[in-house]
Structure formats: structure tokens, C-alpha cells
Subunit: 258 residues, 2 copies
């Protein structure tokens, strides 16, 4: 008898070369698989809801794995956490039904991006947010962000998942493979003291999509780009381009809905 | 002509072997002196308001130094920050009068201590707070904390500053040297969601004093120590001892008043 277990995972992206397993590199997937294998004595594969890049953090990444272990969920969670470095933690471990798949069952993902808009960058937060010293028109950025909501072809803001030797590990359903159409449910930004927060909820995101969108919105914020230009980019106007991608260390995968 | 400059400094204590310069070790004082020397081409000494241990963070450490440089304060701040690693930042650099001394002129220091009281420790905050998984009676801890206010001999909670080959670099006025009497103005703790905050304001602190006080209060919080016992410890009752010291990475020097 095997069963499917579902975990909510938090990690400090600074400590890893991204989520997806890569030979010879410290990855979140690799760290989780090694820790779980120590407890269950199985060679198993972990599947994540989102493949985050090197430096990207997670508070609510969701993973699943199949195991023959009969240990209670509380015991498993405690034991696996004890085998992990402090940079990654299983916040919740639950029994899931046979049909549950961390990537394909997800109906939406929520990412946050954090900018520190101040003259001097913080020392304590240096790997947790992106420092921008020039003034930002956050209202104009928010107006531009909202225009991204709805069903669109986001090809200008990212690429579909990449199939590697290890296997495809992007976001979205099986049907979405190869397509660059996504549905953005929420795209907002706002100022809170010296911080600028970004919140994005979509059915799934293309590779680098949130960072490309944030990078583009920051150009709107400095006045380098008009608010309406973001619509031109979205519609495939080749005279303007999106980005550059904002750095990975300001990005957080915060929630996955099923 | 020389002048005295005063800086407010933020640093990530995890990156340093403490504030005070030590041969062959990465210290905050050493990093600041090296960066300032690059800009002013002088060999100079930096004095801090508080000597924080390895792992202890600062948001509002205050330092002063004497320089012959005639550069404007804005230019100096920008240039010195550009020579520092991201783990330490000068948040403010001001002209000070001839009598200003970061340590001796300070009338009070404020430290905060941050505990995460939850079943699973956070991955993202792992070097920023101390994780305690067992339940804490924060009300009892706060009652015990308040009894520390006033003028007391805090010998049970720490040692006076240590005079090393490099020189004495503790806290407090010249008069306070060697004495273990201090005046605590504020000692409080409170819960905010899964965090327990501690706030301490005193004229000066003994070495390890905040961490010893927090470690003692945590024993009150678990019920291992009665609230009144803290008064016995303070009064030098040898049948009970303070501590153990809570770990350095939950401690922040947040403000120095002049």
C-alpha cells in the first residue's frame, strides 16, 4: 500500500540553486528528496506546484510525493524537518487523496514581490527584497498592473516551461504545456512605508513571468515607460519590449490553491 | 582641521564575529574602519555605542570617528556604503560636535529580542529570531520582566565590560566602568501572532545581559521558574541562577539616545 502526502514548504531561496533538481547543485527538490529518503528508506520523487528559480523564496510552495511509509503524518513531518537544513522547512504535511498532484491539481498560484524604495538599502533584508533608490510612482505602476488581469497571451513576459533531461517541471495543467496563454486573476502593487509590495494571482505563470512583469512595472514607476505601453507589450507590439527581469531575491511563492 | 562624524549603522550580525575588532576575524568595526579608510585615506578608529556579540544584529548602532576629510556628509555616506559589503550599511551620517562620543555621550540604549513561538521554525527567519516550540506564558514573563525596572546591581545577569589588548569597548560612561549597577527604564514582552517580542531600555547593559535576562524570562514562560524568583536572582540569592543566555541571533540593538 502506498499513499500520497502533500506538504506546504517554506524556504530561503538564497541557499539554493532553485527548486528543480540539478546534478551537483544544492536544490530545494534535492534537499527534500534526500531528507524524505532518510526517513522512509525509499528512493522517491517530489513534485512541486511551482518551479522557482535560484534566489526565489517560498512561504507556501506545495509538493507531493508517494510513499509506502505507514508513519503518522505528525511523526513524518517532525522527522523530515529534523533531516533538513534550516533553510527549508515543511510547515504542514497532510494525507492527500490518490488523484492529488501538486502541479496539475493547482487552480491558482500567488506570488509576491517586495521592493525596498529608499536611499540606503537595508543590511538585514538584503537577500529578501530588491532595493530601488530612485522615486517610484506606485499609483501609475498599479494602474499598469491592473491592465494585465484577464486571459492573455503572456509570451512577451516569459517562456513556457522548459523540458530538460530531468523532465518538464513548470507550472500549469497538462493542457497548458507549450501554450503561453494564462489567466491573471490579481495584479496589484501598493506602497507601505519604504516598501513597495506586488501581488500576483494567476492560474499559472510562465518562466520568469513575475520578475519580467515587475521589471516592466518598475520602468513605468520611474517614468521610463507610459502606463499604456504595458498593453502594447501584452499585445505583441515589437517596437517595445518587457523587462528587464527584476532580481530573484525579491520574489516569494506565497500560496497555491487547489 | 579634523571633525567628528556620527553614523547610525545597520548590520546583519550573522555575517560578523561581533562588533569589536579582532585580529583575523570579520567584524563590524573592522569592516567600517576599512571602508572609511578607503575613502579618507586615513588610518582611523571607529567607536561604537554598544559592543554587540557575534550573531547580534543592529538597526540603530551608533558610531563616531574623527577625520580630516572635507567631503560633504552625503558624499561620504554614499562612498563609504559603496565600499561596504551588503551586510553592513550606514543609514545616516551626520556632523557631530567636538564633545560627541558614541559610547560615553549615550544616555540610553534600546535592545529588542525576537522569539518565534511555533511548532515549526521558519526557514526565512532562521538567523533573525530564536525558535521556541513549547508554549510560553507571556503574561507571566512580562510580569517578571517589569520587576527588573529601576536601579539594580545586575551582576547575576552579566559581567562588566572586558578590557582587552585592543582596549575596553563595553557600554556605559567612564564612571560605570567595573560597576555592575545599571538603570533599567523599560523591560517588557508581548505576543504578536506566533512571535514574542522583548523590549529593553537601560542607561547601559552589561555583557550578555539582555540574552541572560531573555533566557531567564523564557524559563518563567515555560513554568520552570516562578515569577518572583527573578527578584531573588536580582538580589543575589545564590540558590537560583539566571540564564542560560538566549542565542545571539534573536537580539537587535535598535536605538541609542543622546
Amino acid at each position: 500500500m502506498t499513499r500520497i502526502l502533500r506538504c506546504t514548504v517554506e524556504y530561503d531561496g538564497t541557499a539554493f540553486a532553485g527548486f528543480q533538481k540539478q546534478p551537483g547543485k544544492e536544490t530545494v527538490q534535492g534537499a527534500l528528496e534526500a531528507a524524505i529518503a532518510k526517513i522512509t528508506s525509499e528512493s522517491l520523487a517530489v513534485t512541486g506546484a511551482g518551479r522557482t528559480d535560484a534566489g526565489v523564496h517560498a512561504i507556501g510552495q506545495v509538493i507531493h510525493f508517494r510513499t509506502a511509509s505507514a508513519l503518522p503524518v505528525e511523526t513524518l513531518q517532525r522527522a523530515i524537518n529534523a533531516c533538513l537544513s534550516g533553510a527549508v522547512r515543511i510547515r504542514e504535511l497532510l494525507e492527500a487523496d490518490e488523484t492529488f498532484h501538486a502541479r496539475y491539481s493547482a487552480v491558482s498560484r500567488e506570488y509576491r514581490y517586495l521592493v525596498e524604495n529608499a536611499a540606503v538599502p537595508s543590511a538585514l533584508w538584503r537577500n529578501r527584497l530588491y532595493h530601488v533608490s530612485h522615486p517610484l510612482d506606485v499609483e501609475a505602476m498599479d494602474t499598469a498592473a491592473v491592465t494585465l488581469c484577464g486571459r492573455h497571451d503572456f509570451a512577451a513576459f516569459g517562456s513556457p516551461m522548459v523540458h530538460t533531461a530531468i523532465g518538464a517541471d513548470g507550472e500549469g495543467t497538462v493542457e497548458a504545456r507549450g501554450s503561453t496563454e494564462r489567466t491573471m486573476f490579481v495584479a496589484r502593487c501598493w506602497r507601505q512605508k519604504r516598501f513597495v509590495h506586488f501581488r500576483f494571482v494567476a492560474d499559472a505563470f510562465l518562466r520568469h513571468m513575475v520578475r519580467m512583469v515587475v521589471g516592466t512595472l518598475l520602468r513605468v514607476g520611474t517614468g521610463a515607460l507610459m502606463t499604456q505601453t504595458i498593453v502594447k507589450i501584452l499585445h505583441g507590439d515589437r517596437t517595445v519590449s518587457a523587462g528587464p527581469a527584476a532580481p530573484a531575491h525579491g520574489l516569494y511563492l506565497v500560496h497555491v490553491r487547489y
